[in-house]
């Protein structure tokens, strides 16, 4: 027959994945050109969650822009707050007291654990393992309860403040936290039992999404995504802030630059975060939790209600904002996703002239075409999971 000798006709297929798709971790849209199962071209579209946080920040005082940072990476808002207040404090030239620094380190590492737990749960869920997701959310619930005990909010916390933290920690909180810290390593063992040596998991992640160390740096990757490629870059070690220079922790590094190594790195980061919290709780110094800098920090609320001078101070700081030295500053902090940087240009008034947010998710999303092109369509899901993006931060 003539038909059999005719070559089988194929054509390139274009599909749009997202913006509403459970595996894109938010409103990310990928346009994929497919040749059979192989991805020929991948074009990400972002911006669906753009709220103009940089523009809004320029029109608010340094104090009132803090809640905006909660909405960047909304599953680890503590870390964004810590990054923001560190940048503003450096610009103001003030320093938080020791106790506040330790508390901020504790809450930042709690945020890191809760973010990594969500990453683990959703990443393995995308690839087909349902059980770890349920275990992961069990521990996240404990951390959320602790946050609620600490400041009344679970998700958008705004707990760290310029010059310190909002309120001191209670003994009850410290006890509950310590209980969690002692218990948590066994929980990580549980996840590892389910996932690490799982054959399906390894088939789906080993050798997938490989990016070499030089290339990863060239793409501007940071955080666990970069360290999975074996580059030793951690802002907590390179430019320590808060109490990170007074605690011991290791920076885990990957070897094979693939999804599986990035998984191992983040699992180990959870253990190290737990170690940091433990040390901080044990070393927690006594003292105030707010810097003594009346020109730059808001006065305590009880004094505002009783005392005229503090009322005036509060009024001036809230309406006009503090008088800030002119200059520009970039401060990066290590958030669960990577390096979150704040770049401020100050013109001497109470509002930033320019507030720039260097969002790790934005940079990580840009590397998706590099990871996906040439691979199978099923690996696109693994790659989206492994770069650990949150679109609220990506789009700002």
């Amino acid at each position: 027959m003539d038909n059999t000798e005719k070559p089988f006709e194929t054509r390139e297929l274009t599909i749009s994945m997202g913006p509403q798709h459970p595996a894109t971790h938010g409103v990310l849209r990928l346009v994929l050109n497919l040749d059979g199962e192989t991805v020929v071209k991948c074009t990400p579209y972002v911006g669906y969650l753009h709220r103009g946080i940089e523009k809004l920040g320029e029109n608010r005082t340094y104090f009132s822009a803090l809640p905006l940072t909660d909405r960047l990476d909304y599953i680890s808002s503590m870390n964004n707050n810590v990054g923001y207040v560190n940048a503003v404090e450096k610009l103001f030239g003030i320093e938080a007291p020791d106790r506040a620094k330790f508390i901020r380190t504790i809450v930042a590492e709690m945020g890191r654990i809760s973010s990594h737990i969500i990453w683990l749960g959703t990443h393995v869920l995308d690839i087909g393992a349902t059980t770890p997701f349920l275990y992961a959310f069990r521990e996240r619930e404990t951390i959320m309860d602790l946050f609620e005990m600490l400041c009344g909010a679970r998700l958008t916390v705004s707990y760290p403040r310029v010059g310190g933290v909002r309120n001191d920690v209670s003994q009850e909180f410290v006890d509950k936290l310590y209980e969690f810290v002692l218990d948590f390593p066994s929980k990580i063992d549980d996840y590892e039992t389910l996932v690490t040596e799982n054959r399906i998991w390894k088939e789906r992640t080993v050798g997938i999404g490989v990016i070499s160390a030089e290339e990863a740096i060239n793409w501007g990757l940071t955080g666990g995504t970069l360290r999975g490629s074996g580059v030793n870059y951690d802002v907590r070690k390179h430019a320590p802030y808060d109490a990170y220079d007074r605690v011991e922790f290791d920076v885990p590094l990957g070897k094979n630059c693939d999804c599986y190594d990035r998984y191992l790195v983040r699992i180990e980061e959870m253990r190290q975060a737990n170690r940091i919290i433990k040390q901080c709780v044990e070393k927690l110094p006594a003292g105030p939790v707010m810097a003594d800098a009346p020109k730059f920090t808001l006065p305590p609320k009880d004094l505002v209600l009783k005392d005229m001078e503090h009322l005036i101070q509060q009024f001036v700081l809230i309406t006009k904002g503090p008088t800030v030295p002119e200059g520009e500053i970039y401060v990066g902090t290590e958030v669960p996703k990577g390096e979150l940087g704040f770049y401020f240009v100050s013109d001497g008034t109470g509002r930033p002239y320019r507030m720039r947010v260097r969002a790790p998710s934005f940079v990580h999303a840009s590397v998706l075409p590099r990871l996906c092109e040439g691979g199978f369509i099923a690996d696109v899901i693994a790659n989206i999971g492994t770069i650990d993006i949150v679109l609220g931060e990506c789009d700002r």
Binding site: G220, L221, E328, Y330, G341, R354, R356, S366, D395
Partner: protein, 174 residues
């Protein structure tokens, strides 16, 4: 050797000013040779600024002339030093050479800068709007752009409203 010293010696003619604030050094440059200087900073042994941490624009409307600045925030992972390089871009010649071929990560940063400030990056492989819709008018982070947005609705939203109205009038049982 200190990075600043090297830059001073190599590119004396391009430097407009150098400033330091809280231990962070920033160098303001003429925009013409920014690409060559960036390549030098990246490749020169002893400097090796291999990580482009950030790239963003700043609008100094009514404060400084030229109006725009593009800020390159560079970091060297092996040497642990950083520098901010700022290139001045005038409003009437709103273009600068792209550094995407040096740092692949600059790709989206430059697109965002184009989206928000209207600065054109020459030699960029795919210069489109990124955060705003493709048919958006105006550049939101410019200082003369209002916080509450333009008076008229965005055409894309008008299309949606129009479509909703048409569907409401549709006779489903006819």
């Amino acid at each position: 050797m200190e990075p600043l010293q090297v830059i001073r010696e190599e590119f004396t003619d391009d430097i407009i000013s150098v400033s330091e604030f809280r231990g962070q050094i920033s160098v303001t440059l003429r925009k013409d040779n920014v690409f060559e200087i960036s390549r030098f900073l990246r490749d020169e042994p002893g400097l090796n600024f291999n990580l482009l941490r950030d790239l963003c624009g700043v609008d100094y409307l009514g404060i400084k002339e030229p109006r725009f600045e593009v800020v390159y925030n560079l970091y060297s992972i092996p040497y642990r030093h950083s520098i901010m390089v700022k290139a001045q871009v005038p409003e009437n010649d709103c273009r600068i050479k792209s550094v995407t071929s040096l740092w692949a990560g600059a790709n989206w940063h430059e697109r965002e800068c184009f989206d928000m400030f209207g600065i054109v990056f020459e030699g960029h492989p795919d210069l489109r709007r990124i955060l705003m819709p493709e048919d958006w008018e105006g550049y939101p982070l410019r200082k003369d752009y209002p916080v509450k947005g333009p008076e008229k609705e965005w055409s894309g939203f008008l299309n949606v409203l129009d479509k909703a109205k048409r569907f409401r009038e549709f006779d489903w049982h006819g």
